[in-house]
């Protein structure tokens, strides 16, 4: 097998084209800027501004737009070329594009459906009116689909992310696997210093992030909301106490906290497990109070719903926290649905612990604002309980900012997970998660940068996607 180049045979046509377009774009952009500067004073009048710029500046701007789209078209051509030509013709880029085929299909389907029904989908539908939001959504969904296809069906990966193949240590992208033939017998993005496939590790790492980050953020929100609502609603002593506690956690440098919580000794001491016992109680508390507040006027239905919630969530809760062989083994082994490895649990707990106070502060502020509204007063004057008001009158109306913050916070949690990996905390050392991979790769960074750069860009694009998504949501929710 021959080593793959970046663009393969397609590159002979497309590379010069790309170069051409890029040069044209640069020239046009420069011209537009220069002409725009000179023309600025002239087009100040409101009437003149309406007429639209004409002449040389207008032409330059048109050129900028055209060349920009030409570049995009060439880039798309690399990907499409990889899909339609035989394996290897499209080079590394083409192979990657082909490998991600299920993801492309899923993305196209979700975009098609969403845009077709966007007027009926509320805030989510409005997202497709904003370019920024759509780009963000595309980036996020790319990783979500990649993770799902990898984690559930084992599709995207080309090699086993944990296997080392001799002779491929620190090899550059496109190196063929010695002795292997047929498609996918290359280390597409090279090998790391233990001779594992960088591409497969990056893809496998996404599954870890997509499993932990949204769930941990969700838990942080549950905790933050359950505590933030009463703090903002009641105010007074309760607020002072809870705010003090939140500030206490916030005053801790995050990394110090991680170093204290996420060590093998700490796992051995059982502290994180006990913290999990407390923190994971909040979602149950939240759901039960939520249902009870709404349904207490209809006792039969209330008993039914609350009972079901208690049973279902309680079982999940007990399965999650109880672990045979530790002090926290509440559930007989036969009933234990699943075991969360100690390392993952402690990572999860500390991420929730770090995020919850910030959510608490946001929710508290929103509650303080919304509780002055007349509809809250109306609820009070008809004798509603405090929890009904908090959960059914205040919370639904705070959802806009909370959804936006949720997106941002998943991104932040992803960064935190990376930080943990970067310091080698929590997850096992050979785990393919992005933080750990960056940490391993950085040792030889100045000689073989690809091992660290690949997961770095993966993480960057996911977090960027989440931030853009949040920005799009914020903008659209502020409109009309």
């Amino acid at each position: 097998m021959d080593p793959l180049t970046w663009t393969g045979a397609l590159g002979t046509v497309l590379n010069p084209l790309l170069l051409l377009c890029t040069c044209a774009f640069a020239i046009a952009a420069l011209a537009a800027t220069l002409l725009g500067l000179r023309a600025a004073p002239a087009r100040a009048g409101s009437a003149a501004a309406l007429a639209g710029p004409g002449g040389a500046p207008g032409a330059a701007r048109l050129a900028v737009r055209l060349t920009f789209w030409a570049i995009v078209a060439v880039l798309v051509a690399y990907l499409v070329g990889g899909l339609v030509t035989p394996y290897g013709t499209g080079g590394i880029l083409g192979c990657l594009s082909r490998r991600f085929l299920p993801v492309w299909i899923a993305l196209a389907a979700s975009f098609g459906l969403s845009i077709a029904f966007k007027r009926r989908l509320g805030l989510y539908g409005k997202l497709f009116d904003s370019t920024i939001g759509m780009i963000g959504f595309a980036l996020v969904m790319f990783w979500v689909y990649t993770a799902l296809f990898t984690g559930l069906f084992g599709w995207i990966v080309t090699q086993d992310p944990l296997t080392t193949l001799s002779g491929l240590k620190n090899k550059v992208p496109g190196t063929p696997i010695p002795g292997a033939t047929g498609p996918w017998s290359h280390y597409l993005l090279g090998g790391d210093n233990l001779a594992r496939d960088v591409f497969s590790r990056m893809v496998a790492g996404s599954w870890i992030v997509v499993q932990i980050a949204p769930l941990a953020t969700l838990f942080a929100f549950m905790v933050g909301i359950t505590l933030g609502l009463p703090a903002g609603f009641y105010g007074g002593r309760l607020d002072t106490l809870l705010s003090f506690l939140a500030n206490l956690i916030l005053a801790f440098p995050v990394i110090l906290l991680f170093y204290l919580l996420v060590t093998p000794e700490m796992v051995a001491s059982g502290v994180p497990a006990w913290m999990a016992v407390v923190l994971f109680l909040f979602p149950i508390l939240f759901v039960v109070v939520l249902l009870n507040a709404r349904l207490y006027t209809r006792p039969l239905r209330r008993t039914l719903w609350v009972g079901a919630a208690l049973l279902g969530l309680g079982w999940l809760y007990l399965s999650m926290i109880s672990q045979a062989g530790t002090p926290i083994a509440f559930l007989p082994e036969d009933l234990d649905l699943f075991d969360v490895p100690g390392g993952i649990l402690v990572v999860f707990v500390s991420v929730v612990f770090v995020n919850a106070p910030t959510v608490f502060r946001i929710v508290r502020g929103l509650a303080m604002d919304i509780k002055t509204r007349d509809y809250v007063a109306a609820a009070r004057t008809r004798g509603e309980g405090a929890w009904y008001i908090m959960l059914w009158e205040i919370l639904p109306n705070a959802r806009g900012p909370l959804i936006v913050d949720f997106c941002l916070r998943i991104g932040y949690t992803t960064i935190l997970l990376g930080t943990l990996g970067f310091f080698g905390l929590g997850l096992p050392p050979d785990s393919p998660d992005w933080g750990s991979t960056i940490n391993l790769g950085r040792r030889l960074l100045s000689i073989y940068p690809h091992a660290a750069l690949v997961p770095a860009f993966a993480l960057l694009s996911l977090v960027l996607g989440l931030n853009l998504l949040a920005d799009g949501l914020r903008e659209e929710s502020l409109r009309d």
Binding site: A44, Y375, N397
Partner: protein, 691 residues
Amino acid sequence: MTATDQPILEIDDLSISFFTRDGEIPAVMNFSARVMPGQALGLVGESGCGKSTVALGVMQDLGTNGRVTGGAIRFRGRDLTQMTPKELRAIRGSEIAMIYQEPMASLNPAMRIEQQLIEVPMIHEGLGRAEARARALELVGDVRLPDPERILRAYPHQLSGGQQQRIVIAMALMSKPALLILDEPTTALDVTVEAAVIDLLRELGTKYGTSMLFISHNLGLVLETCDQICVMYSGEAVERGQIADVFDKMRHPYTQALFRSIPLPGANKESRPLVPIPGNFPLPHERPPGCNFGPRCDYFAEGRCDASKIAMDRVPDEALHESRCLRWDEIDWDAPPQTAVHKPKTEIGEVVLEVRDLQKYYEVSSGALGGGAARVVKANESLSFVAHESETLAIVGESGCGKSTLAKVLMGLEVATRGGVAMAGQEIADTPIQSRGTKTIADLQMIFQNPFDTLNPSMTIGRQIIRALEIFGVGRTGAERRERMLELLDLVKLPRAFAARKPRQLSGGQKQRVGIARAFAGDARIVIADEPVSALDVSVQAAVSDLLMDIQREKKTTLLFISHDLSIVRYLADRVLVMYLGHVVEIGTTEQIFAPPYHPYTEALLSAVPIADTSIKKKHIVLEGEVPSAMDPPPGCPFQTRCRWKSKVPGNRCETELPPLRTLATGHQSLCWLDEAERAVMEPVIQTAAP
């Protein structure tokens, strides 16, 4: 033609549109108007009619989405729409100045008053700092603010709302502009403060010879301030002319409907009820073909009024009187309104609510930085009154008089410091809402002021009413409650289909109806209505207040109607209670309150209310100074700091002793030291001139 015949401002066939994602939304269409030197033009209309857009169009400040799509705005002959930003900057502030609704928002919170004032002549006339400051001092004196030196050094938040608005006026006049645009300049102010500001504006307008474009929804204010009037409806001018012509000989159905829907002194809920305008204000994208007012007009003629756009038509023999109505010369304008049969007067029943010596003090910690001694806000001081079955008791007073606190204590959201409240014999003053029984809560309900805030935006209308039914224990099954909810929608005259809607799909008046339905979910016996119509447009106000009256007749409800608007109070109330600084200063039947002898504060309030009737003569009383703080009330009579009758009471008594609540006639009490002889010389504030 002399220079004075040239209009200062001439708006000619102006059209303005906003361009949004959903396309072009025309806000103003074919609008023409003229302001002559030294004169004032009033621009009236309901919210959303485009009157503020006209003002911003004149200032050429329509934002990124707004655009003038046709016509011209000529200021002293020069077209403002064709000017460069530089030319516009030179005119703004120096020749055209603008005053807004919210004085607090229009002053920069981080700059001292002085900086904000002197900047105007420094930019436009190149004045030095000292000269500019001297002029600022002079103007601050002109707007009758005490201690100008101190005011100049102050930050905006250190001034009261009335003072801030005076500063905004001073700022507008700094460079002696030829045209002043006022966009609802007094809407955010209390009535007595409003009266003082309007008085000041009139005086300064004359002094500086400034022309004015006065935008308001209040016909009474326009009558008091303007020479010409232009009535707008849904983006168009529908009628314009001299004030007297339009008020007395209106020639457009909308103008007529507007006047019939506002509570003028002759109106009466039994014999001469208000006539609400049917239907809803059309949104810009659902305007009908032909006449915009057509669908709501009594004189609508199919095939004619909806055929094509209607142009302004000149009414002959009158100066500048125009109407955008095809049928203006066919309609009998003097015919009385076709109202429904006279409604029976309700029988006032037993006492259902008794308030005795109610007192409410709050403790607040002063200073934003925490610490500092706690101070006491004396919100309510020994209030005593009773309310009867199927009676409307109006509680009148300006902001800070303690009327909202009273409502909170009655509702159980606050607990009284002292005193008692008995509802149907049951003591509730010390019972917070959590400890009240379902029956007590359902019997005493509340309607809130702000329609945009009274409903939970994320729950459907039906769900919200059903929730109230569940809480009050009405109905046993879901189906029963649903049926009851639909009946409640019928009660407030809303279509049953609204049950599935979210609040944002409803107009302000419709939301307020839902609020009423919710309050009556548990068949409330007493309903506290906290300014239920003050945030609504005039035409909707009439409909909502009539609805309240109808429900009251049917259910024999006691209505505690909290309001600052004496016109509507006179129309609705059976008895009136006037509050000032936490005290009841006067209480009596509506006739007793609106006729002499008055309490001095009631007298001032009555004089301050603008009335849109040219035949009414009002006595001119302007209250000086500010309402004292409830944290630091004056000794003696609460009103003594602003009372014009104080000198008539011998021996400085007003300043030292709290007057007793004297009974003047059966059911009429007044908190005043004035003796009978002095009271006898009081003249009526409002007099109807002989027709």
